[in-house]
Every structure is written in structure tokens, then in C-alpha cells.
Symmetry: C2
């Protein structure tokens, strides 16, 4: 059993509810939908570069927005967001304070989550989400020599002014809100230092986290209860360390009460090494809550051409099952908010927030374990994005998938697709799992998510049934074949 820690982002409620956002019933209903679900902690995120609450330390979402900036139709949701926040302010409602009260009422632990370095739409220098602090300090960007991706335009935390500005916002969260804990979200986005300066960065963030903990100590006296600090960090202790976000070190030093190993956004990563985190923070009491992203891709956007690239309840079960068997204390969900109709309908959402992490409820149900990759890594390190993979004729190629523990009577299939292959023969590719040959059973249909080419299935023989990692090997007899998708389906 592991509860859900659910992240509610800084814009979703406002642009989904629009003019209704300030309606007290809507404010209440929004929280009440989580009553009786498996959500045990809710993390309310109130900022990206700008805030969705009244601020002195930062800049509220509707400030410094000109008509030109929001002329595009594309920005309708920004306008809804901005107008909803303005309406709340006009009516004197602090929606976060209300939600915190409501969460306490239904025994969900109220947390907040601060995005430490958000660069949504960084390619558009006139984007209304950008703060004046960001716009006025182009020289604060972390990568001055390279300008390929949004994250090259993240702020450089080696600069004291950057740290002080964000610490001011953090302090204001404490001043304004009475939460059980606050998370420093270092994965929105995940790069905080100039290329090559991650070691220096680690020292600086260690200091920042120490100060955050001291701030919590100070406010524990004000609030009269324990206030915890959490952090979202890269998927593995090694990546986290080498990217300057030393989660393990923060736990050992007593700065954090929990860590959330997280992908960035391109894809959820079902193979988060929870057991490594747990061992390394052993004795500190620090909880480990691996993060499910809503996206699921076998390789990075935009190379991925599949239309539907989101986790389903079946892939969520797969990852959650594996996480729990590896020792997860909770399942953290990012971008799993209500009315995300591109990914699930209302009933589907209810199922996700009720079932995820609840071992009894998930037990025996169909689940899928899809091979994805880690979408953030230290600069200069080889990517584990292995698909699409060019198979060499008659040379073994291996892939591993963590399934967690298995029940005895479950059927296990290996599902794979190959680029532009629609007529695979039963002996074209020999498939082994844990050293045993799998029998080919032909084309196979699954619901989304799925690859664009035909999916083929192989049965895992009884002799190969085991828990934990499953190693799937292909020995291709074809002159050319490119593996595009690989998963294990358990039913």
C-alpha cells in the first residue's frame, strides 16, 4: 500500500474553471473530489515564473501583460487563467488558503510545491508567463554559449541574485500559507547551472536547501506544528548528484523529509531505482516517492510520432506495482489533474486517483510495463534512450524491464513493434526472456498507448517466470529490422 501524492499545478484549475474559478462551490468541489480516493497528500503549486496568488516577492500572473502578448488565439487558456486569478483577487479569496483548509477537513495532508526554475515557452521572449526578473536578466541564463532548447534558457543558480530572488518567493510561501510541508521542485525545469559547473552548483544548492530547512524551523514556531521540506530531483541518486541536486546528501544532512525522483516531461520512467534511493537514505527517515509523469514515450518528443502518448490505467498499474515492490513509500503523480480529457475521461480519472498505489485494488488486474528512458541526465553523459534500436542480424540485443513481483497465475506477454513491419513471420526474430525462448503468437491489439506500427506478441514460458527485472533478448534473422517499442503485458 502506498498513497498518492498529487501535484496540482499553478494554472490548471484556473484555466479549466475560467469564470467559475472564484465560485466557492467550485473551490470546494475541486478538493472534495479527492475524498475517499487514495490521495494522501496534495501538493499545491502556486508559481511558475509568476504566481497565481497575490505576491510581494514575485509577480502575479496578470501583471506586466500587454494586449500584444496575448493577441494569439493560442493564448486563450492563459487569458482564462489570468482572468480567473484576477477575479479571485477582486473577491478577496485566497484559493490556496481555502484549499489547505479543505484538505485538512478530509485528512489529506496539505503541501505546497514551488517551481524553482520554470522556463515554459522560453523560445518566445514575449510570453506573458515570463516574469520581469527573467526578462530583465538575459545574462542570468545558464547557457550563454548554446541556445538549442528551453532549458538552455533556465536561470543560473550560481548567481546570488537568482538564489535570493527565489528564496524570497519561498519565504513568502511560508508567510502566506500554513502547510504541512513545502516541496522545492527542482525538476521544473531540471537544469540550474552552466554546462560543466554541476559540482559547484551542488555546493550552492546544498546551502539553499539548508536555508530552506532553517526557514521551516523558523515557521514551525509560528505555526506550532512540524513543517517538512521535500524536493523533486532527477530519477537516480547518481544523476541527481551529478546534476547538482544531491537528494541523498540533503537527506543525510536532515534537510529533506522526502525525495521525489522524477522524470522531466517527455516520458514517465517506470524504471526508477527506488531500492538505490532507499538504501542510500536509510536511517534518515526520508521517504521516497517516485514520480509518474502523464506522458509516456519510448523516445523523446518530437521524434515520437504516435498521436496518443499518455499513461493509461494499465501502464500506471505497471509502474506503480514495480515502484512499490522496490520499496516506494508513496506514488507521486505529476500532471494528473482533473479534466485532462486528452488523456482520460472523468471516470478514468476517478479510477487513477482511487486505485494507483493501492496494492489490493490493483492486484490481479491487467498491467503493462513499457520500456521508456530517462529524459534528463548530466551534461556530457550517454543517453539511455535506446529506441528506436537497429537490430543486427544474428547478434543478440538485450533490454530489461522491471515488473515488480508477479502472481503465479498471471499470463505474461512480450509485445514489440518494428518500424514498417506488418508481416512478421514466426521465426523472423527469436525472442528470449530470462534465457528462455518465447513462442510467437502473432499480431496483438492493445488500447493506447501503443506504437504506430503493428504490435506483435510472444508468450513468456513458465520456466522464465520470475520477479523483478525481466531481460528480453532478440536474435533477429532479418537483414534489417528496427525495434520501435517493447513492453511486457501481465494479465
Amino acid at each position: 500500500m502506498a498513497g498518492i501524492w498529487l501535484n496540482e499545478d499553478n494554472s490548471h484549475y484556473f484555466f479549466k474553471r475560467g469564470a467559475n474559478a472564484a465560485d466557492p462551490d467550485k473551490i470546494r468541489d475541486f478538493i472534495m473530489q479527492y475524498r475517499g480516493t487514495n490521495v494522501e497528500r496534495m501538493l499545491l503549486n502556486g508559481n511558475a515564473q509568476k504566481t497565481s496568488y497575490v505576491t510581494k516577492a514575485g509577480e502575479i500572473i496578470y501583471d506586466n501583460v500587454t494586449d500584444d502578448m496575448i493577441a494569439s488565439e493560442r493564448l486563450q487558456s492563459f487569458k482564462n487563467w489570468s482572468n480567473a486569478v484576477r477575479l479571485l483577487v477582486e473577491r478577496g479569496i485566497d484559493v490556496y488558503a481555502e484549499w489547505i483548509k479543505l484538505l485538512r477537513e478530509i485528512n489529506i495532508s496539505p503541501w505546497m510545491s514551488m517551481r524553482m526554475n520554470d522556463v515554459h515557452n522560453a523560445d518566445n521572449t514575449d510570453d506573458p508567463m515570463h516574469s520581469m526578473f527573467y526578462k530583465q536578466h538575459l545574462d542570468y541564463r545558464r547557457a550563454m554559449h548554446r541556445d538549442e532548447k528551453w532549458e538552455d534558457r533556465q536561470l543560473n543558480y550560481l548567481i546570488e541574485d537568482v538564489r535570493e530572488y527565489h528564496f524570497g518567493i519561498l519565504r513568502e510561501y511560508f508567510e502566506k500559507y500554513d502547510f504541512d510541508g513545502i516541496e522545492l521542485d527542482w525538476m521544473r525545469f531540471g537544469n540550474h547551472f552552466p554546462v560543466g559547473y554541476e559540482d559547484e552548483g551542488r555546493t550552492v544548492l546544498d546551502g539553499f536547501m539548508k536555508s530552506a530547512r532553517e526557514l521551516a524551523d523558523e515557521y514551525e514556531k509560528v505555526r506550532g506544528h512540524r513543517i517538512e521540506i521535500g524536493a523533486r530531483v532527477p530519477v537516480s541518486p547518481e544523476y541527481a548528484y551529478d546534476m547538482g541536486m544531491d537528494g541523498v546528501g540533503w537527506a543525510l544532512a536532515g534537510y529533506v523529509a522526502n525525495l521525489v525522483p522524477s522524470p522531466f516531461w517527455h516520458t514517465s520512467q517506470a524504471d526508477i531505482p527506488v531500492e538505490r534511493w532507499k538504501r542510500q537514505v536509510a536511517g534518515t527517515g526520508c521517504l521516497i516517492a517516485p514520480c509518474l509523469e502523464i506522458c509516456l514515450r519510448q523516445y523523446a518528443f518530437p521524434k515520437c510520432k504516435n498521436e496518443f502518448q499518455f499513461n493509461s490505467i494499465e501502464t500506471i498499474r505497471g509502474a506503480a506495482h514495480s515502484f512499490i515492490d522496490r520499496g516506494a513509500d508513496a506514488i507521486y503523480t505529476f500532471n494528473y489533474m482533473d479534466m485532462q480529457r486528452y488523456a482520460y475521461d472523468d471516470e478514468g480519472y476517478k479510477k487513477i486517483i482511487t486505485e494507483t498505489g493501492d496494492v489490493e485494488s490493483m492486484k490481479g488486474k491487467r498491467r503493462r510495463h513499457v520500456l521508456t528512458f530517462s529524459d534528463r541526465r548530466p551534461e556530457g553523459v550517454v543517453s539511455d534512450e535506446i529506441l528506436p534500436f537497429e537490430l543486427k542480424k544474428n547478434i543478440f540485443a538485450g533490454f530489461r524491464i522491471h515488473t515488480g513481483n508477479m502472481l503465479k497465475n498471471e499470463t505474461r506477454l512480450v509485445l514489440m513493434s518494428f518500424k514498417d513491419v506488418y508481416d512478421l513471420g514466426e521465426n523472423d526474430i527469436k525472442v528470449f526472456i530470462n534465457g528462455e525462448r518465447c513462442e510467437f503468437i502473432g499480431a496483438y491489439y492493445t488500447e493506447n498507448p501503443r506504437p504506430i506500427d503493428t504490435l506483435y506478441a510472444w508468450i513468456v514460458p513458465k520456466e522464465a517466470h520470475k520477479n523483478g527485472y525481466q531481460v528480453i533478448e532478440l536474435d533477429s534473422g532479418l537483414d534489417e529490422a528496427v525495434l520501435d517499442w517493447i513492453e511486457m503485458l501481465v494479465d
Copy 2:
């Protein structure tokens, strides 16, 4: 300052000395060459599949060898080895017992090292190095479904008989020899379990290491002094764990007094994450001694066509310097034995064993940090063998190299070669290090090791001088270019 832990393998002395191996002066001289060097511990390895000493538990090297087996000229060194061991036996000399005494005489700590799963020449089922135990149990091989490489024919330690056979040999080491410690060499060779069964294997090896420690406890009473257990394991704590050789776990459980993170053989790996090992064994007293292999390749044999593929004193200094700055307690050398004339002459050898690890002696001397890779990894995991690397036009490609700490007045160059490129222009490829542009200075010559194509050099500007990891980025303007070699030279 870090001393050298030098591994002397089971055959080298015998086939180099041949008929002189049993000469008491040669036996003595062999050890005395290390007097006054930086060697602080010597690990005498007495076995592969067969032993180079009289044995009841195993099989001595010259047993069960037919004339047919050694008919080939290629086997002259085997004959020298075998004959030398026979001569020693005939004369009643136990060379290992002699060496242990001599090592104590010159204050070098005498250790032994047992190879746990050696499969030299596994493709030749009639090889005279193979034991009857190995030959009579073809069903004990770890990979029954795959037969691509020597290591697929390693023994499967999930089988009790395999464990018992080897534990018998280990016990005999204790019975016969009075050493300060014994190392279990799990990296000759590095795979001990069927594909997919590394987790089960970890449990089994945990038990084996526990028994090894208990054996040492028992013999401490016999010998009247402390006897330590060490182990050679994969390069990183994560790879070690996922391959079933949980070095960190063994340290936490008190089974081992030291760990030697080691490549297999294809190449030395200068980027061993010593700091991760040190942090994870903190408080146990376990020492970390990263291993230098003699080979140095940018990608695996036989793809690597360069004639000379060995570390030089300059690349050794590079790796040792970095290891020490990352916290290494000693530098372990594997295959650095005397008279290896393909790699160094006698004077060169003297320099290596005197200077390596001695910070004062290495200081300010020219050193080279070459990007290599990890030549062993868990089944189904993506390789970090990144070279040769196809550069995409105008897209940044990053590589990182750990140099350890730097002195202020050193010159730093980035050296690179590109497949079949002999006329690189100064603006064809923009090179950055730690975010700063490097100036192109043209073709550059180094001694071996070096790539087969022209090596080009760029100067690292002062603004980019830093310690630890150096991230080198290439922004290529060429339609096609394949990076074949990358290093940092410090002088």
C-alpha cells in the same frame, strides 16, 4: 598519496621466467624489484581454472594436459608456465609461500587473489587451461541459450556445486598460505548468473561472501593476526548491485575490508565514480581502490584497430590523479606486471610502480585524460561506449572527462580525432569546454596511446579552468563527421 595495490597474475612469472622460475635468486629478485617503490600491497593470484600451486581442492596447471592440446606453437607460453610450475613442485618450492615471506621482509602487505570464474580461451573446448570440473559440466554454463562470447561460457553460481567447488579452492588458499588478506576476484570474468537472474545471484553471492568472512575469522585464530577479505567488482555501485556483486552491501555487512571497482579488460576506465563508492561505504572502514587495467581503448576490441592500445605513464597519471582527488584510498593495478614489453620497457615499468599514486611525484607532470567506457554492464542496459560518435551538423554534442584537481599554471588542451579527417579547418568544428569557446591550434602529435587518424588540438581558455568534470561540446559545421577519440591533455 595513495599506494599501489599490484595484482600479479597466475601465469606471468612462470612463462616469463621459464626454466629459471625455480631459481631462488629469481624468486627473490622478482619481489625485490618492488622495494622502495610505491607498491604497498601485492596481490598474488594463484589460479584461473587451474592452480599454479599443488592442490587437493582443484587441479594443478599441468594435470590432464595431452600432447594434442599443446601441439600448437601458440601454446609455447603455456608450456613454459606448465613446465616452470612442475619444476618448482619437483624441487619442493612453494613460490607463493616464499613470496609472502619476502613481501613481509620489505614491508609490502602480502595478499592473495582468487579468480572466481575464469574463462580464458572458452571458445577452444580443448584448451589446456580448462579444468576437468569445467569441461565435465557443460550444463553449468551461465548462458545456455546464447553462445556469442567467452563470458557466455562462464559458470553459473546459482548452482550449489559451482559454489562449493570454488569455496573449496578458497578454503585451500587459507590452509596453505599465511596472507594479510585475500581478494575474491569477481571480475575474472565478470558474469556469474544466467541472463535475468542477477537479483537471485546477488542473494547467493551475499551468502558466499559471508562464508568467506567466516572462513577468515576461523583462520585469524590459526594465524594469530587479522585476515581481511577484499573483492574486485564492477566500476560503479549500481552496476555491481545490478550484476549481483553488491560490493556496498558486503561492506555494510562487514564482509569486506576493501573493494576494487574494476573494468573487465577491453579498457581501463578513468571515470570510476570513487566518490559514490566512498559515500555509500562511509562508516564501515571499507577502503576503495579503483583499478587501472593495462589496456586503453576508446571502444571495444576488436572494433578498435589501433596497434598500440595500452596506458602510458601519462594516461596512468591522468587516471590516478583523478581517482585520488575523488577520494581513492589506493590505486589498484591489473596486468601491470614486469617484462610486459608490448606496453613498456623496464625503465618505463620502474617509473609506473614508483610514481603511480604518489601525488608529490606525479605533480606538475604531463598527464592525459582519455575518454574510454565501461566494458561490463548489467544485461539489457544501454552501453556507455559512445565512440565512434556521429556528429550531427549544427547540433551540440557533449562529452565529459574527469580530470581531478588542476594546478593554476598548467596548459590544458582538448585533443580529438575524426574518422578519415586529415585536413580539418579551424572553423569546421566549434569546440567549447565548460561553456567557453576553445581556440583551434591544428594537428598535434602525442606518443602512444593515440588514434589512427590525425589528432587535432584546441586550447582551453583560462575562463574555463576548473576542477573535476570538464564538459567538452562540439558544434560541427561539417555535413558528416565521426568523432573517434577525445581527451584532455594537461601539461
